[in-house]
């Protein structure tokens, strides 16, 4: 979906971010210091940059100053207010502190990409096509009628594809914190989606956890 540059000097975390982004279908490029990041940006054009602040040589603040207009999410251990403010004032699109949660990172990446990407906004897998801008779902070219909650659930599943989401988390993401129903609601909606899209095999029930939409990587 998008081509993302990851600038992070800790190898373990760099790899982790890369793997998570690849799960939902992004292409990633890892670099480990600011200098390489800047030279890479000259050769390639990226849709997004995940940027650490404490980097060897040129630090993250300097990198974003010299980078031209690439959408940027800071991912850093620096969580003080002045650092955040500095990050945003230098033009960052978001600021995430370590330790972070996978879902949060993905959600923020998604949000920034949706804001900044100019390309058509749709998802296609097999014979199912989802148009995010018009909120329409097609199955074999036929428009599928969805309730708003069903559509939202589908969108969450698609955005976090290949990642298992617990029922509680799905409730929280789709129905909101203040929804008073129980997790059975999620099961019911999942059943309906499976049926409407013929996704009985795609939307997997993960034992003791929840559901996962498996789509090609």
């Amino acid at each position: 979906m998008a081509f993302i540059l990851i600038v992070e000097d800790e190898e373990a975390i760099n790899e982790l971010v890369k793997r998570n982004l690849q799960l939902v279908g992004h292409r990633c490029h890892s670099v480990f210091d600011g200098k390489t990041a800047l030279s890479q940006m000259k050769h390639q054009s990226y849709d997004l940059m995940i940027l650490d602040i404490m980097l060897p040589g040129i630090d993250g603040f300097e990198v974003i100053k010299q980078a031209n207009e690439i959408p940027t999410i800071f991912l850093t251990a620096k969580n003080s207010l002045p650092d955040r403010v500095k990050g945003f004032s230098l033009g960052a699109d978001d600021y995430l502190t370590k330790p972070f949660e996978m879902l949060e990172l993905l959600a923020r990446v998604e949000a920034v990409l949706r804001r900044t990407m100019k390309t058509a906004n749709y998802f296609e897998s097999g014979n199912v096509k989802i148009d995010f801008s018009s909120r329409q779902v097609f199955h074999s070219g036929q428009l599928v009628e969805c309730t708003p909650k069903e559509y939202e659930l589908l969108e969450v599943l698609v955005n976090n594809r290949n990642i298992a989401l617990s029922r509680e988390r799905l409730l929280e993401l789709v129905w909101g914190y203040d929804f008073e129903g129980d997790t059975r609601t999620v099961d019911v909606h999942i059943q309906k989606l499976r049926k409407k899209l013929g996704w009985e095999e795609r939307i997997k029930t993960v034992y003791k956890l929840g559901y996962r939409l498996e789509a090609g990587r």
């Binding site: 975390i13 799960l23 251990a77 990642i163 996962r212």
Partner: protein, 464 residues
């Protein structure tokens, strides 16, 4: 304070100044009157004695005194004939002769005592002041009383004028004094005002404010000690600030040291829980989790060791330097070979007292740092020797060296030369802090000297 001093001083001044003027004017008044009185008395005496001679002469000629009195007295009337004096003569309280002003004399006549002493009185009649001297002539003429009157109005008036001038001048001087006093007080209290201003500034956090020091008096002395106090405060505040900064730095670094592995561990665990993984993915994720856990363990262990060293005394024993060096060499051998570094051990002393494990760990740490600093094919010298009664071990390398600023900080816990705290070339940054702690617990001192691009020397000097 200033106002009170001003009012008190002014009141005291006015009181004593006016009292002085008053006393002076009273004294002058007394003096004026006395002079008038003395003059009157001497005139009276002169006239009386002359009159007696005349009377004796009249008696000698057998004449009648009473009859010739007028003729006798007439010249004296002229004698004292200026406008200020008058004369009267009584016989048995009957006026027998009077010059001018007899009305005044008449109304103020007092019978003088019989013992021949004279009576001088001062009377004020119709705005005029008179001195009246009355006295009986000596026996046998003691039935006669001579009264001499002297008009002293002029003198009293001139005294009165003088008195007025004095009081007027006094008033003018008092006003001038008041202004002068105000000016002087302002000058005196000005430094106090400045001190209070300055201390307010200091209290508000402007610790570099100072009082101007000039001259050589008590105030200068005070300004000096005040400035000294301000300097002391500033110094202590700076120290506190530095200590707080250091602590903050420590906490920040510590947080980073914990956060990075925790982020990785949590992230990979979550990844393993939620994503569809191949066997390779699973293994590498597990590897990351284990490596990061080990990293946390190392940090925890080193911190614990440091805390232990701070609290506990260690067991000192005599260690063979050669076996210490050998153990260290063995431990580090693979790293040395890998970077092709030549290491030389030399020992001038047989034994050294300390804890074997701690000494070993310290030497390994120091040599490990030296290896990191060296390029391929570098040299490291480890020497144990004795100089000036104290034993020393020094580790010298010809690696990249450090700048003085870095050198000052390397023994701070979690300090890392690279700001990004990247681990490629090191651990958590606790190694040298630990070394320092070990040296301290052996009553030793760890010192470094370094030159960029020339190498670094670490030296432990044992004082025991």
């Amino acid at each position: 304070m200033k106002q009170r001093t001003f009012l008190t001083t002014l009141a005291l001044f006015l009181f004593f100044f006016n009292l002085g003027i008053f006393i002076v004017s009273v004294a002058m008044f007394k003096d004026t009157l006395n002079r008038g009185e003395e003059r009157s008395l001497s005139q009276h005496y002169f006239i009386a004695s002359a009159l007696i001679k005349d009377m004796q002469a009249v008696e000698g000629r057998g004449g009648d005194i009473d009859g010739s009195l007028n003729a006798l007295l007439q010249p004296y009337g002229y004698l004292s004939g200026d406008n200020d004096a008058g004369l009267a003569f009584y016989k048995n309280n009957q006026m027998v002769f009077s010059g001018k002003s007899n009305a005044v004399i008449q109304s103020n006549f007092i019978e003088p005592p019989d013992n021949g002493s004279r009576l001088a009185t001062i009377r004020k009649v119709d705005e005029k002041t008179y001195i009246i001297v009355s006295g009986k002539l000596p026996a046998p003429y003691n039935s006669y009383t001579l009264v001499y009157l002297y008009d002293t109005t002029e003198a009293v008036n001139s005294w009165s004028r003088l008195k007025n001038i004095l009081f007027f001048a006094g008033f003018v001087l008092s006003v001038l004094f008041a202004f002068g006093l105000l000016f002087v007080l302002n000058r005196i209290f000005d430094p106090l005002k400045q001190i209070s201003r300055t201390s307010k500034d200091i209290a508000n956090g402007a610790y570099d404010t100072r009082l101007p020091v000039s001259g050589n008096d008590e105030l200068t002395e005070m300004s000096k000690s005040f400035n000294h106090m301000a300097e002391e405060i500033q110094r202590q505040m700076t120290e506190l600030k530095n200590a707080a900064d250091k602590k903050q730095q420590f906490v920040d670094n510590f947080a980073h040291e914990l956060r990075t592995p925790l982020t990785a561990i949590y992230g990979y665990a979550e990844y393993m829980q939620k994503a569809v993984l191949s066997e390779d993915d699973r293994l590498s994720a597990l590897n990351y989790i284990m490596a990061e856990s080990r990293r946390l363990q190392t940090v925890a262990f080193q911190l614990l060791e440091m805390a232990n060293l701070q609290n506990n005394r260690i067991n000192l024993e005599e260690l063979k330097v050669s076996s210490l060096f050998e153990t260290v060499h063995q431990t580090l051998n693979s790293k040395l070979v890998e970077k092709d570094i030549l290491i030389e051990f030399s020992s001038e002393i047989e034994t050294i007292s300390g804890d074997f494990c701690l000494m070993e760990s310290m030497l390994i740490n120091l040599i490990d740092n030296a290896i990191k600093a060296c390029d391929k094919g570098g040299h490291i010298y480890v020497r144990a020797y004795k100089d000036a009664e104290s034993k020393s071990i020094c580790v010298q390398d010809d690696g990249k060296g450090m700048s003085p600023e870095v050198l000052a900080l390397i023994t701070e816990p979690f300090y890392r030369e690279e700001k990004s705290r990247n681990r490629k070339d090191g651990g958590a940054g606790l190694g040298l802090a630990l070394c320092k702690q070990i040296a301290t617990s052996h009553d030793g001192e760890l010192s470094f000297s370094s030159c960029p691009n020339e190498g670094t020397t670490a030296k432990i000097t044992f004082t025991t």
